[in-house]
C-alpha cells in the first residue's frame, strides 16, 4: 500500500468535491467559504507533492495558494460584498439539481477522455489529469450557470485551481510559480472589474420583478 499515492489521490478528491460544493451553494458567503476550503485542499496537495517529489518550489506554490487564495481573496471578496451591498443569493441560470447532474456528466466525460489516452502513464498522473480536467470543467460550468459576478469570479478561480492541480501532479513541471503569479494578477483585475460592474448589478437588482423572484421559493 502506497500512502503517498493514496494521500495525493484523496486531496485531489477533496478539491473536486469542493467544486461540487460550489455548485450546490445558494448563498454567496457559503460559496466563498467553500472556495476557501478548496484553496486549502489545493495548498495541502501542493505541499504534499513537494514533499513526495522532493521539489522545493512546490512549497512556494503551496504557500502562495494558501496566502492568496485561502486568505487574501476570500477576505477581499467578503469586504467587497459587505461594502457594496451586493445581492447575497446566488442567481442560478440552471437549477442546482440540474447543475449537479451536468457536473457529474462532465466528470464522467473527463474520465472517459483521460483514461483511454493515458493507459501507459503512471496511475497517479492519469488520476491527477482526470481530476483536474473535471475541476476545470466544473469551474466553467459554474461560470456559465451562475449569473452573479462574484460567483463567476469564484468559478474562474476554481478553473485556475484545476490547472494548478494538474501542474503539481506532474513531476518536474516548470514555471508553476510563475503561472500562479500571472493568474493571481488576472484575478485581481477581475475583482477590480466587479467594483466597476457593481453599479450595473445594483441597478439590475432594483428591478422589482426580480426582487419578487428572490423571495425564497425557487419556483
Amino acid at each position: 500500500m502506497d500512502i503517498g499515492y493514496d494521500a495525493a489521490h484523496m486531496l485531489g478528491a477533496v478539491v473536486l468535491l469542493m467544486s461540487f460544493a460550489l455548485l450546490y451553494q445558494r448563498r454567496i458567503f457559503s460559496v466563498i467559504t467553500v472556495f476557501t476550503f478548496q484553496a486549502l485542499a489545493l495548498a495541502t496537495a501542493a505541499a504534499w507533492q513537494g514533499y513526495a517529489q522532493g521539489e522545493p518550489h512546490l512549497y512556494v506554490t503551496a504557500l502562495l495558494t494558501l496566502v492568496l487564495k485561502a486568505i487574501a481573496i476570500p477576505l477581499a471578496l467578503h469586504r467587497i460584498i459587505l461594502r457594496l451591498n451586493i445581492q447575497r443569493t446566488v442567481d442560478a441560470a440552471l437549477s442546482v439539481g440540474l447543475t449537479m447532474v451536468a457536473g457529474v456528466s462532465l466528470v464522467t466525460l473527463s474520465i472517459l477522455l483521460v483514461l483511454p489516452v493515458t493507459t501507459d502513464a503512471a496511475t497517479l498522473t492519469r488520476e491527477g489529469l482526470a481530476l483536474s480536467l473535471s475541476v476545470v470543467l466544473l469551474g466553467l460550468l459554474m461560470m456559465i450557470t451562475r449569473r452573479n459576478a462574484v460567483s463567476q469570479v469564484v468559478g474562474f478561480m476554481s478553473i485556475e485551481n484545476g490547472l494548478i492541480f494538474a501542474a503539481i501532479g506532474v513531476a518536474g513541471m516548470p514555471l508553476i510559480v510563475e503561472m500562479m503569479v500571472a493568474f493571481s494578477v488576472m484575478v485581481a483585475f477581475i475583482i477590480f472589474g466587479i467594483f466597476l460592474f457593481q453599479i450595473r448589478e445594483r441597478f439590475d437588482t432594483l428591478d422589482l420583478q426580480k426582487i419578487d423572484s428572490y423571495r425564497g421559493e425557487s419556483r
Binding site: 437549477s95 439539481g97 464522467t108 474520465i111 472517459l112 483511454p116 419556483r219
Partner: protein, 668 residues
Amino acid sequence: MFLVAAAAGVALRRLSHAPLLVYGVTGAVCSLLVLWAVLRLAGGAGVEQAVLPLGLPWMAAHLRVDALSAVFLLVVNLAGATACLFGWGYDRAHAAHGHGGDQGPVLPVFPLFLAGMNLVPVADDAFVFLVSWEFMSLASWLLVLATHREEETPRAARLYLIMASFGTVCLLLVFGLLAGAHGDYSFDAIRAQPPAPWAAGLAVVLVMVGAGSKAGLVPLHVWLPLAHPAAPSHVSALMSGVMTKIAVYAMIRVLFDLVGEPAWWWGGLLLAAGALTAVMGVLYALMQDDLKRLLAYSTVENIGAIVIALGLALVFKAGHTPVIAALALSAALLHVINHSLFKSLLFYGAGAVLSATGTRDLNRLGGLIHAMPTTAFLVLVGCTAIAALPPLNGFVGEWLLFQAILNAPALPEWELKIGIAVVGAALALSTALAGACFVRLFGTAFLGRPRSPEAAGAHDVGSAMRLGMTVPAVLCVLIGVLPTPLLRLFEPAIRLMVEAGPFDDRAYQPWFWLAPTSAIGNSYNGLVMLVVIAGLGIVLVAGIHRWASARVRRSIPWGCGFTDPDPAALSQYSASSFAQPIRRAFGTTVFAARDLVEMPEPGDTRPARLTVSWRDPAWEWVFVPVVRSVERLADWLNGLQFLTIRRYLMLMFFALVTLLAIVAVVQR
C-alpha cells in the same frame, strides 16, 4: 383449439352461456399448454420442428418449439388461464350490473388474441412470425375497440393501429436484412448465414424500434398507456402483462439467436434505452390519476428493467463472459414471468375496483380496504411484488439484475464500465420511485376515507374474479420464496441463448437457496427471510400480548381539532397531492409540471383548488416534430395532384431513370 373457441364465441354470442363456454374452453386450453410447456422445460426441452403446408403455395409454414419458446408459451398461457377465470367473472358482474356496456365483441376476439400470442413464439420463419405478430396486433386492436363507447377509445385505437403498423414494418425490414440476398426466410437459414456486420447492426436498431414500439420503449411508448387501459381489464392485463413480453421475445430471438455474434454497442444501446424507459415510465406513472393508465405506465417501467437486463446479457455475451450473461438473461426471463404475474394481478384488481365502483379515477376512490377486503389484500400483494420488496418475486429479479450489474468490471470497454454504473443508478432510482408509485396507488385507492359515494358503496367482487386474482398472487409469493426451481426450469432456454447457465452444476446447491455462480459468492434466500420475519413477528406479538396493555379505544382521528364534515373527505391527501414532492423534485424539468393553487379570499366559501399541469416530453420532442414534417410532406405531395399531364410524365420518367441507375450501380 383457439379457433374453435373463437368460432364458438361468434356462433354463441346470443346464447346466455356463451361466456362460460368461451372462457371455459380457452382457459382449459391455456392450462393444458402451461402444463405442456412446464413438462417440456422440465424434460430438458429439445427442439421440435414442424412444417405445415399452409400459406403461400411455395412457402410452407415452419413451426418450431425450443426452450425459449416454451418459456414464453408458459408465460402467455399462465396469464391467459387466469385471464379467462377473471374475465368470466368480470363478464358476469357486468351482465348483472348492466353497466360497462356490451362485452359481446370481446368474446370471439379474445381467443384469437391468445392464439396470436401463442403462435409468435413457435414461428420458425419470418413469414409465420410476421403473420402471427400482425394477427396478435389486430386482435388486440379489436379488443381495444370493444368498449368504443368511451370517448377516448377511438383515439387510443387509431394511435395503436398506427404504431402497430409502424412496428410491423420495422420488423419486416429486420427480416429482410437478416435474410439478405439469398432470400430464404426460415430462421434456420438465417442462423446458418449470419448477416454482414452493418446489416446486423441495422437489424438490431430496427428490432429495437419495431419490437420496442410494441413493448413500450420510451419514446415509442405513447400509444401504450392509451390503448392498454381502454380494453376490458382482463384484456388490459394480457396486453400489458403478456403482449409486451411477446415483444421481448422478439428481441431475444433476434438479438441472441438470429443476428449472430453480437457487438458490444448493441448492448449499450439496449442499456441506454432501458434506463431511459425505466425512469421515465415510473415518473409518468407517478403523475397519473387514472388507475389503469398508471398500471400501463408502470408496464413501461418494467419493460425498461427487462431491456436493461437484456442489454447486460448482450454486452457480457459480446465480452465473452457467458456465465455473467446467463445471470443477466435469467434476471430478464425471471422478470418477464414476474411482471406478467403481478401486472395481470394488478390489472385484475383494477378491474375489480372498476366493476365495484364504476370509476378508475384514483381521486374518486378510497377506503376500499373495508368494503373489498379480499381484493385489497391481493392487490397489496401485487403492489409489494411490483415495488421489488422482499420476500416477493419482484425483488428476486431485481437482485439478480443488480448482481449482473456488479460484474461490470469484467468488461473491457471503459464506456460500458462507467455506463453500467449510471444505468445501475437509473435502475435503482426507478425501483425506489416504483415504491412511491405503488404506495400512492394502494394508499389512495384502498386506504383512507372514500372520496365519492360510489367508493363508499362498493362491495367485494364475485368468487371467480377473486380466484383469478388469487392464483397470480400465490405464484408471486411462491416464486419470491423459491426462485431457484423456476430458474432451473428456465435454464435450457438460457443455455440455448448464451451457451452457459446461471448455476454451476459441479457445486451442490440446495433447491431453496439462490446462489448463482457468477454472483461473486453472494446468495439470497427469500424462504429463510420470510420464516425469520414471521418468527420474529410471532415472538413480538406474543410478547406484546403477554406484557403490554391490550386495551383498544376507538375515536376520531386527530386533525388538529378539525373534523372534516365533508362526506367526500376532501381534506385527506389525494393522488395528486401525494405525488407533489416527487413531481416537484423531478417533474419540473422533464415534464414542465406546474402546480396552480387557486386560493379563495378569506370569507369566501369556495374550496381551494390545486390544478396540476404537465406536458409529455415524448410527444413534444419526438412526435410533434414528426407529425409536422409528415404534414408538410403531405402538403407538398398534395400539390402533385394538380400537375399537368406533361409534368406527371416527367416525374415518372425521372423515377424510372433513377431506378435504372440504381439497378445499374447495384449490378456492378
